[in-house]
């Protein structure tokens, strides 16, 4: 099975879907001539030409809206944000136009559009360039939100996103693009809305997504050396949440830690904790604990940034607490 990077997995997904459907096109800053700020679109301009690989000005609100308009006109746009930090400027179009169009038109206008780009912190990009937006985006009915952690999931989810008739937000990660993983040749389509057990375990469930999957897996390794068997559930899709998969694991372990890159208040973990206490109240042997970014804007200094981010150590500590070991 070929081992490729997360970047190349996304690139394959884009290429295959563009080959398959002439209505799919990619637009965003630097996606064409420059081959993508993070090279996700490498080679696509050469293959598909400037009609379908569209370099935009720096105008997130405008080009996101143009994407939505193009979808209203029957195309299937993939809108790349150089990073989701800049997409804050486009939220009106994502929320008020894309997510609400089908509903407020009484079902007349489907919205087959993908908004994608790296989300969350990379390394030392400081306060304005390190924000994790999944809590905001997954709050919105009318959107679907996926956050793949591996090359395989990235390819399968991006392909499904492009074929979906709804607006799908794809949260990638600068720190994920170089990660390698096995990706079988041929068609991969991962259904949106399905979590994935990234590691089986029996004592405690660690729920994670995107970059925090690697953190959870490292924590599980460390816990294993302490004879603690952790199950790692990768949500993969943040909207709609895979309640069933979450509850299945809770039923097995009765103890949960949720880890995410974003800030704590009203985060994804809050929703997961709410779900679990509501639907599995009697199965919980301990409160659900959460590991999040510190509740501060991201500092530039490397040491402070490390303190601010979730880490395997923090997850291990939380896991031990839900096991009443500390």
């Amino acid at each position: 099975m070929p081992t490729i990077t997360y970047r190349d997995a996304l690139n394959q997904a884009l290429r295959e879907e563009m080959q398959r459907d002439p209505n799919v096109f990619l637009m965003g800053e630097e996606v064409g001539l420059y081959q993508g700020a993070y090279k996700v679109s490498r080679g696509l301009l050469e293959e598909f030409g400037a009609k379908r690989i569209v370099d935009t000005p720096i105008a997130e609100l405008g080009f996101a809206g143009i994407g939505v308009g193009a979808a209203m006109g029957g195309l299937r746009p993939v809108v790349e944000f150089m990073t989701w930090n800049f997409a804050v400027l486009a939220l009106d179009q994502i929320v008020n136009s894309a997510a609400k169009m089908l509903y407020m038109s009484g079902g007349q206008i489907p919205m087959p559009i993908v908004f994608r780009g790296p989300n969350g912190a990379a390394l030392q990009l400081s306060s304005q360039h390190s924000q994790a937006w999944e809590s905001w985006l997954s709050h919105i009915p009318g959107l679907k939100v996926v956050a793949p952690a591996t090359p395989y999931d990235a390819k399968g989810l991006l392909k499904s996103a492009i074929r979906d008739n709804n607006p799908v937000v794809v949260l990638e990660g600068e720190m994920l693009y170089n990660n390698k993983g096995d990706v079988p040749e041929g068609e991969i389509l991962i259904p949106i809305g399905q979590a994935d057990v990234k590691r089986e375990g029996s004592h405690v469930t660690i729920i994670c997504h995107s970059k925090t999957v690697a953190i959870a897996l490292k924590a599980a390794d460390q816990l294993a050396t302490q004879d603690i068997s952790a199950e790692v559930i990768d949500l993969r899709t943040l909207r709609p949440l895979d309640d069933t998969a979450i509850l299945r694991s809770v039923a097995k372990t009765n103890r949960v830690v949720v880890v995410e890159e974003g800030w704590p208040q009203c985060g994804v973990g809050a929703q997961v904790a709410d779900l679990i206490q509501r639907e599995a109240f009697d199965q919980l042997d301990a409160p659900v604990l959460r590991v999040t970014q510190a509740d501060v804007p991201m500092p530039y200094n490397k040491q402070l940034e490390r303190l601010a981010k979730p880490s395997p150590e923090k997850v291990v500590a939380a896991a031990r607490r839900v096991l009443y070991l500390d």
Binding site: F63, I66, V68, M72, M101, L102, M104, I109, N165
Partner: protein
Amino acid sequence: MTTVTAQPAKGDTQAAQQRRMLREMLLIRRFEEKAGEAYALGKIGGFCHLYIGQEAVAVGVSAALEPTDYVIASYREHGQALVRGISARAVMAELFGKSTGCSGGKGGSMHLFDVAKRFMGGHGIVGGHLPLATGLAFAIKYRGGDEVCACFFGEAAVNIGAFHEALNMASVWKLPVIFLCENNRYGMGTAFERVAAVTDVVEHACSYDIAAEVVNGMDVLDVQQAMSRAVQRARKGGHPTLLEVRTYRYMGHSMSDPLHGVYRTKDEVEEQKKKDPILQLSHRLRQDGAIDQAGLDALEAEVRAEVEDAVRFADESPDPAPEELTAHVLAD
């Protein structure tokens, strides 16, 4: 019930076309008056922005369009919807929130849609639909089509970023979109000159190297002609145009707002009404002998009947079923 058709039938005489435009303006006027009444009776809720005074803009623009062309507008879009051929019934029922409305009762006054008529909405965030219009034009060009997209918005939208981002990309990519700025001088209670450094909206065309014209929005023929030129540029070469259509709203900003007040005088409103687009056109048609009083009366009666029928229809239509609450959040 006959529905208004936006297009001059082929081989139509000029007089017949102008009579049709008169009928369309009259229909909008009477429709809006009824909507105002229905609002006062509580049959229409929310925000309701009437188009009275501005009828010539929608009618003149529409007369220059083909049925396959896209139209998109702000929340002040009853007139544009009607003139594009959505029936008065379907529009009124939408205002009443009924299941027979053109958006199934879920959109309301600000969100009229009819995809079959290529009427792409009613949008509520000022400036927000200018990128959508540009995107529709992008789709046209992408598919190699020869349609155009007409985008109506108020002059106050010129001050918001989306206007500029949209015009720039429309020009860089040579997209067949016509930006129709309905300059009625006020955004709610704010006169344009109080909030815009340059009050001639057309000036902005220079920054984007796109064609532009100032149009007399009280004269439907002027609108139609300028629009025809813009459509030609767009259809042939994919050249966008910015039309600044000078018009005037007679009513308050929405049904919740006063007709005048500190921001404009009653005299000003009355003065403007002298240039009424319907009066002007009917006067001209009479002078040209294209219509007589009996003809006008018949038109009036016909239009009134159509609007009354629409109200009755809306009144008698059912609310959407409760299941509609959760329908259409996502497509399959």
